[in-house]
């Protein structure tokens, strides 16, 4: 049997499983809370696997290996930023966000600051950034399926997108979580199945790092062969902000069965992600640099070349389906996020409810499903003909969301006296400054390239929040805000 035939069989089995899960999950959808947050019924184990699968995307394997092979030690830089970001969620965000019974992050902005405008603005940022990110993920998935099935790139994108739109529209977050768990298993099988052959070829864990450091002096150092400390630290800060506000992660917090599950899953998530980065990026990246780097023309091919040279057709099929699973596990979460921003935040919270237009849950459930299909179709059409400039912007989508939410979330959940206007100003300036920095970086302005764009956006956002706050009326005088976010036992003077 040829590689593509075995790949096709494994992939069809996997996709069939996805559709079955979507169909089964659709039976549990009674209202929009069931659809967007899975009826808030997930425990620690399910939450852990679902979060890991949704933050480990196809790019974190393909590009992660390419990045590690090229730049060495810096590939492990997310460790500190990621861990610090998760600590902020654990200590500051998780309990209050879970107990406020929200559905999306813009929901928090609306409830905490009593502002429909702020909810609408942040929902638009989430929707646009998620759709941009979704476009890149669909393209990534298209490349994987193209290699796996031997079909055209366009047809591969259509097949993959139709499958995940189908199960997300049918089963909402419940389908996303259970498919994420299956994807989690496929992903790890795909990565680990290569280990014995690569271990034999490189002479083991220690040996591969000794060899790579001889080939590229400084590869194993924290800054790798070419990064500066300032650039490295700004990336760590970016990862810290990005993970503390990562929407596919935070939304799962809303779906936990209680605030304990929302918190207890976080250290387990980090442990699994650390294991993934150490093996899935550092070890495979070093192995690619030592074994196949001379056969690689574009760094992103490193993993595929490694598979082509060191895997049997059956192993290769599982490895590639594992990558497809990783790509799908993020695309479905992103589709759900962008759909929720449009259907729940913009349509329901910012248009129908403020105008007193009453619609029943059946209407909102239907609207949610239609939104998912429309948003998915828009992203697919955009993925067919994506300008190179858009792909560059996509890499900063997470930074834009981080700069928009980070200051109003950290300060809003810890400091009582925050005004609606200061939160809106911080959110707006964080987004604008990061967007300007992104454009300057893309135009190769020298100083802009020395820092990650989210760093300037987050810094300005904090300054603006504290400055404007000093001159405006705080929102904590509202009793509803107090009862949700600042119960007496939580506050010290």
């Amino acid at each position: 049997m040829q590689f593509s035939t075995i790949g096709l069989v494994v992939l069809l089995g996997y996709m069939l499983l996805m559709v079955i899960v979507g169909w089964a999950s659709s039976k549990y959808q009674k209202d929009s809370t069931d659809f967007w947050v899975g009826g808030r019924r997930f425990g620690t184990v399910v939450m852990t696997m679902a979060i890991v699968a949704s933050i480990m995307h196809g790019g974190s394997i393909i590009s992660g290996i390419a990045f590690a092979a090229q730049f060495g030690g810096v590939a492990i830089l997310p460790y500190i930023g990621f861990t610090l970001g998760m600590i902020v969620i654990l200590v500051v965000f998780a309990k209050k966000l879970r107990e406020m019974n929200a559905i999306t992050l813009p929901d928090y902005m609306g409830k905490r600051f009593k502002s429909t405008f702020l909810q609408g603005f942040t929902a638009a940022v989430v929707a646009i950034s998620s759709i941009l990110y979704l476009i890149a993920q669909i393209r990534g998935m298209g490349f994987v399926l193209e290699g796996l099935l031997g079909l055209s790139f366009e047809l591969s994108m259509i097949i993959g997108t139709v499958i995940f739109i189908a199960y997300v529209a049918a089963g909402g977050l419940l389908a996303v979580v259970w498919t994420n768990i299956i994807q989690f298993v496929f992903m790890w099988i795909g990565l680990l199945i290569l280990m014995p052959k690569l271990w034999a070829a490189t002479g083991g864990w220690t040996n591969v790092f000794v060899q790579v450091d001889k080939i590229v002096p400084g590869w194993t150092s924290p800054t790798g062969p070419s990064w500066t400390w300032i650039f490295l630290l700004s990336w760590i800060l970016n990862w810290f902000v990005a993970y503390a506000t990562r929407i596919e992660l935070i939304t799962k917090v809303f779906a936990a069965k209680d605030s304990k599950s929302a918190r207890f899953c976080l250290p387990w998530t980090i442990l699994i992600v650390m294991a993934f980065l150490l093996y899935g990026n550092m070890y495979l990246g070093a192995a690619a640099r030592v074994l196949v780097w001379d056969k690689v023309t574009v760094p992103d091919q490193a993993f595929a070349v490694l598979i082509g040279n060191y895997a049997t057709p059956l192993m290769a099929a599982f490895a590639m389906v594992g990558i497809a699973a990783a790509a799908m596990s993020t695309t479905d979460s992103l589709l759900l996020m962008s759909g929720a921003s449009v259907a729940h935040d913009l349509l329901r919270k910012c248009y129908f409810e403020p105008r007193g237009i009453v619609k029943d849950e059946k209407f909102y459930l239907k609207a949610s499903r239609i939104t998912i299909v429309v948003v998915g179709a828009i992203a697919l059409v955009a993925a067919f003909n994506t300008p190179a400039m858009l792909l560059q912007i996509v890499s900063y989508a997470v930074a834009l969301i981080g700069a928009t939410f980070f200051a109003p979330m950290v300060v809003g959940l810890t400091v009582k006296r925050v005004s609606k206007i200061s939160a809106a100003a911080a959110s707006f300036t964080g987004f604008i400054v990061t967007a300007i920095h992104v454009i300057l970086s893309m135009q190769k302005v020298a100083w802009a390239g020395k820092l990650h764009p989210s760093v300037s956006g987050v810094a300005v956002s904090f300054i603006v929040l504290f400055l404007v706050n000093a001159f405006t009326r705080p929102a904590h005088e509202d009793e509803e805000v107090n009862s949700i976010f600042f119960k007496k036992s939580n506050v010290t003077v």
Partner: protein, 75 residues
């Protein structure tokens, strides 16, 4: 300004991380400059401290925090 106890703990933790990172960077400089390659699970010790030990300590802190929540000492 009113602050939660969490933010105080967070700041203390950040200070700890900052000091830990500075120490790790200092050790890194010494070891790296002298070309000593003490290898633990395959990584030179300098990278190992910076990239594995500091985050691992933070994870231990997270488990400890969850344990305190379970015991009811943290709400």
């Amino acid at each position: 300004m009113l602050l939660l106890p969490e933010i105080t703990r967070l700041l203390a933790l950040l200070k700890l991380c900052y000091c830990g990172t500075l120490i790790a960077l200092y050790i890194n400089e010494i070891i790296w400059e002298r070309g000593i390659s003490m290898r633990i699970i395959g990584l030179p010790i300098s990278s190992f401290i910076y990239e594995i030990v500091v985050p691992a300590l933070l994870v231990v802190y997270m488990f400890f925090y969850c344990h305190q929540v379970k015991k009811g000492k943290i709400e």
